[in-house]
Symmetry: D2
Subunit: 381 residues, 4 copies
């Protein structure tokens, strides 16, 4: 009898100083089904080696480049089972394509690519290879976001009429990219980041959660981008009016110059009979407000939640779970889907896990907001 095999993850990116790479590692390993075993963590062999050591992996599997990783791992008897991409945006596409070509399923940090055209290229590759592909829209992993989604789907709110979604940050209220701040710098450079600043970095999160929870699709929009901080190249403030496929409308606000705000993601969905209200900074509670009765606060981990929500909580009610646990849910769903796929060669990623469709829609959203802002008016989605 041998040790039960965890799925082996190879990571691209996540080197020294990175924020999101370690989050992926922690989220992926949280439920004990995945283990980080290899990586091309940084742009030099030395930095990659150091990062590999900090992650506790076999030194021989800390590669200098992702090409090297893909090539070497293919030859191993115990190769990685999938690739996680946590690099700056501009490299997401080439890495994803190379991984898919090499036969590796992919988990990618968002945004999937830097442009809509690239997203279509990626979609084609995913379709052609038939390999599992997941996009870590982290907020989709929170139990109470799932509960909100379940409530919308249940019809209990009646027809959805109006959505307000916001994502307010303040960390770019100053010209941080001119001070040597790594994340700020890579986000400020269109060549690395793509053409959408705030809209690409966080607006797309707001867009995703809106569609993800409501089950509706944006059909046209009227967006306005603005660069508030002098000296900045890309937009740092984004607003959009939205029309949705059932006739509802929405307002989306995303900004990175809201001095004093941390990471205020909030979604409100209003139906005929009631509404839901969720805030990322208070993630384990969901407010449900009824036209004809008391406001409700639903708490994560309780027995009265929908079955799909209960299934993804790790802790009893009253014991907070957070952002890493959200990643953990997405990775767990990916792991389960991957195992099923290997068994049956059917793409079994669940609809709750954002994938290539979300990737394409997200990039389309960014591109459409930029266009709408340019023409100062409504554009079709």
């Amino acid at each position: 009898m041998t040790k039960p095999q965890k799925l082996r993850m190879g990571m691209v990116g996540g080197g020294p100083g990175a924020f999101i790479g370690p989050v992926h590692r922690m989220g992926a390993e949280l439920d004990g089904k995945i283990e980080l075993v290899a990586g091309a963590f940084s742009q030099t062999a030395e930095k990659s080696r150091i990062a590999g050591e900090s992650y506790g992996i076999d030194p021989g599997r800390a590669y200098a480049t992702y090409q090297e990783m893909l090539s070497a791992e293919r030859k191993r008897p115990d190769p990685i089972d999938f690739v996680a991409i946590v690099t700056p945006n501009s490299t997401h596409l080439p890495i994803a394509l190379a991984a898919l070509e090499a036969g590796f399923p992919v988990v990618s940090d968002k945004p999937a690519t830097t442009t809509y055209a690239e997203a279509l290229t990626l979609e084609a590759a995913v379709t052609r290879t038939g390999l599992p592909y997941a996009l870590t829209h982290a907020y989709a992993g929170y139990p109470m976001v799932r509960e909100a989604r379940a409530i919308c789907a249940s019809g209990k709110l009646g027809t959805i009429r109006k959505i307000a979604v916001e994502y307010f940050q303040g960390w770019l209220a100053q010209l941080l990219e001119s001070t040597g701040h790594k994340q700020a710098a890579s986000r400020a450079d269109p060549a690395i980041n793509g053409p959408g600043g705030c809209v690409g970095d966080i607006g797309v999160h707001a867009f995703h959660i809106l569609e993800y929870v409501s089950g509706l699709r944006v059909t046209s929009l009227n967006g306005t981008l603005r660069t508030v901080v002098p000296g900045r190249i890309l937009d740092d403030d984004c607003s959009a009016f939205l029309r949705l496929d059932n006739g509802a409308t929405g307002v989306l606000m995303a900004t990175q110059v809201a001095a004093g705000e941390l990471n205020e993601v909030r979604l409100r969905v209003y139906g005929e009979k009631g509404s839901i209200d969720w805030r990322q900074q208070d993630p384990n509670r969901l407010r449900v407000k009824w036209a004809d009765g008391p406001e409700e606060i639903r708490h994560a981990g309780t027995g009265y939640l929908s079955e799909s929500t209960r299934a993804i909580s790790r802790l009893p009610a009253g014991h907070p779970e957070g952002y890493i646990e959200g990643f953990g849910v997405l990775y767990r769903e990916f792991a389960n889907g991957l195992i099923a796929w290997r068994r049956e060669r059917v793409n079994a990623l669940p609809p709750t896990l954002p994938g290539i469709t979300a990737a394409v829609r997200g990039m389309r959203f960014i591109e459409r907001v930029i266009e709408s802002s340019r023409v100062e008016g409504w554009v079709e989605f």
Copy 2:
């Protein structure tokens, strides 16, 4: 020595079943400087008499019409000192004009008139007569709104860059106007209410508080109106992008179909260094969020608030004041201004009290949003 004279208020409107009339009465009398002594409370003599009795006034001063009131009061040795108008919107202008012509100062519920053209007519009358005129934008009477205004004016937030203001209600999520509901019916009929539905009823409140607190002025806007509930004539949902005179931008959201919301007025103003965040349903607290330090909650009634804020609290910190007290502040400022005006014939209403300028700007806002929504694009203010 005689009894010190309170200012005598004559009210038009506020008959049986009215909501806002009693609020004006309570607010006006709260600080002991004003007394309701006369009124034309309803559209029939009988109903007016009944209302007068309920208000405890001399039966001889419960008039059948406002014309009668104005005429009779002028002849008394102890006439009313001013007229308070709390009727449906379409009668605000004729009553205000008649009162001014008869020499009576005016306090008017908002909106001041039903159209922008009417507002200009009213402005001309106010200017010509030189009489005090106040508009009860109630939220301007809350201490913590005054504190927010003082903080913005102090420059502590740095240059203001972004404003988000919202006013969400749910009470019109159904076609209430078809059920005999009085307030809903009068708001639903353009002939009574004017051409702006949600934008005129509550959008204008959001607009006012935005300008009132920030000290900025809207210079252009891109608004969108929508009638969500089938069968309704006027808009019940309003959103607008705003450009402000210092280069800042804003997003305004007002809706009356947000099922489950009660009266959610919220204003967030973001400057370079920090921001303020106020919610009407939690009126005695003001959140001040700093880019570089802890978030603050300032509490009404405390000693660390600005002098102008402290001056209008009636209670020690921790003892909640509310909506009626806000009206009380406006009426107190009106009373003090009126006394000064009678002494010196100089219009001495303080800048903190909304007046004819706010009235004109508010009506302009409504008209501009309607126009912008019609052309589906930006319009100058």
Copy 3:
């Protein structure tokens, strides 16, 4: 036909610098049924005259002493209908006795007297005269406290098992009474205030709301008093374990040295099936937490509240009412009871209005906590 008569209030106390006197005036007059017309506002004729002028009353009815007021008013054709007592504690009893002897109903600020023995004397006088007597335990006037009471009475929580009540203030964290602060000084002097410091000033409020909402009665207690601030004479911190008549227990915490707290009154009542949670600084919301379902937030002014709660709200949901409005509810109930009493000579004060029984129990509570603290153990109530 003559002007409908408001009830005429004569006030004792409430002179220059007073906090609670003006609150009584505003609360009493709020609903238009009562008018302040006379008073012995301060300890000198001159100060009383000045206060009378500030209240806008007839100068001839601003008396130098309460004895003078009672005597003069009895002889008028339009005498006061009742006396409101808002003086320092030690004078509550003699004023109340004199008023009752003179045939005037009484509204008294709390505590009713300075000792339990005095309270029994007062109770005897109230019984003997049969006159209406009300005690303004302000928190009993909040709509959501009434809702909490209705829920407890309904049995929906099941048998009540556990109560936690707290009243935390910080304003006496320093030796304020040595700085010339009027309220602090009178509360610090046992001769004026009575023997209970914190326990008498705010502990008794916590005790009252506990019994008022739960419908239970304390049968024994184990209390501990402490004087935290050096130089202070009376206690400024009070805690007590309570046993209740249905077998439930409670913990009561009251302190005036909780630096940073304003006026944090909170009551939690736990039954077999659920619980209620109310905070005075957020008075228009009541949390109801169920063992088997989502937490509820009930909002004042909504249609789903109990009938008795709805009856005392003045405003639609979402429009905050506060402390003055709470007094207004108590005075309205007193006014209605007084009118009924005059018509039928039956004491018709409703059970929702705290009266002489609450007064006696409150003084007993203070006396028992002092005794328990002295013996460091349980005492019978």
Copy 4:
């Protein structure tokens, strides 16, 4: 060059259906320094094997008993580095003693033992062996608890005068132990759980956090225990007055019958100048209330926090961390201490990590509350 070695954890307990075992596993592995490699997970070999498989460990290291695990691991070339104990309370002592005797450092779930006498036995063994021993008082791992501790230690609040700590749960409001509920049953049986019910299960958490944050020590107490639910053997409700070594006092409330509460741990510490207020269900915020200035909300992950707080956050501000991350902090401190200890044979566990002293004090607390409740009065600590 070989793969950098993670510390190897062997777990006792945590079999099928367990709540806290998996939390320990997730917390321990979160930061990539520790790996679960062995365990005696359950009371049968078969269940232990199944659990081992679910944890993904080598089947040969899923032992039938802890004795077997200790014996077998000692002989391996790659033995476990420490033992984590997550069994029912009554087995904590024998397992810890056996582990220490076998030379293994120990991490134990709380409470350390079932009685104070046992705790002294354990303390002697820890002292004698000189091995690292940690007790997972989970709340000590939250960043904002550390911030609260840093603020208290800094003296910014002035002398601490008053502490209120509470731990309210509702899950034992019914006789859950009679329904086959595993956690409830083991907690209900004195032979398994020890003599303290609520006081031992959660009261001790409240006690620990009080001392941990304030830096003060309880010197005497007056506690009262109660069994609320009919049929229950142990107490399910606990309150205590506390006297502290600097003259301050405290009130501790813990209950498991607060129907509707989830896991409400709250600590308030009041000093001369201000106070701190922390709630476990909102763990990433700490309220700091000042006597002379605005209330502050400090947010986890921000730059203005104390260095020790910043050091243990994994995520930028606004990205919630929770309960598992709190365990992760404790395990990280243990891991670092263990590495230092192996290098230098000096016990290098940091003072921020609860250890044997906290274990002994906690058991003493339980024993003293039981005694105080028995005698109905104050007892020395």
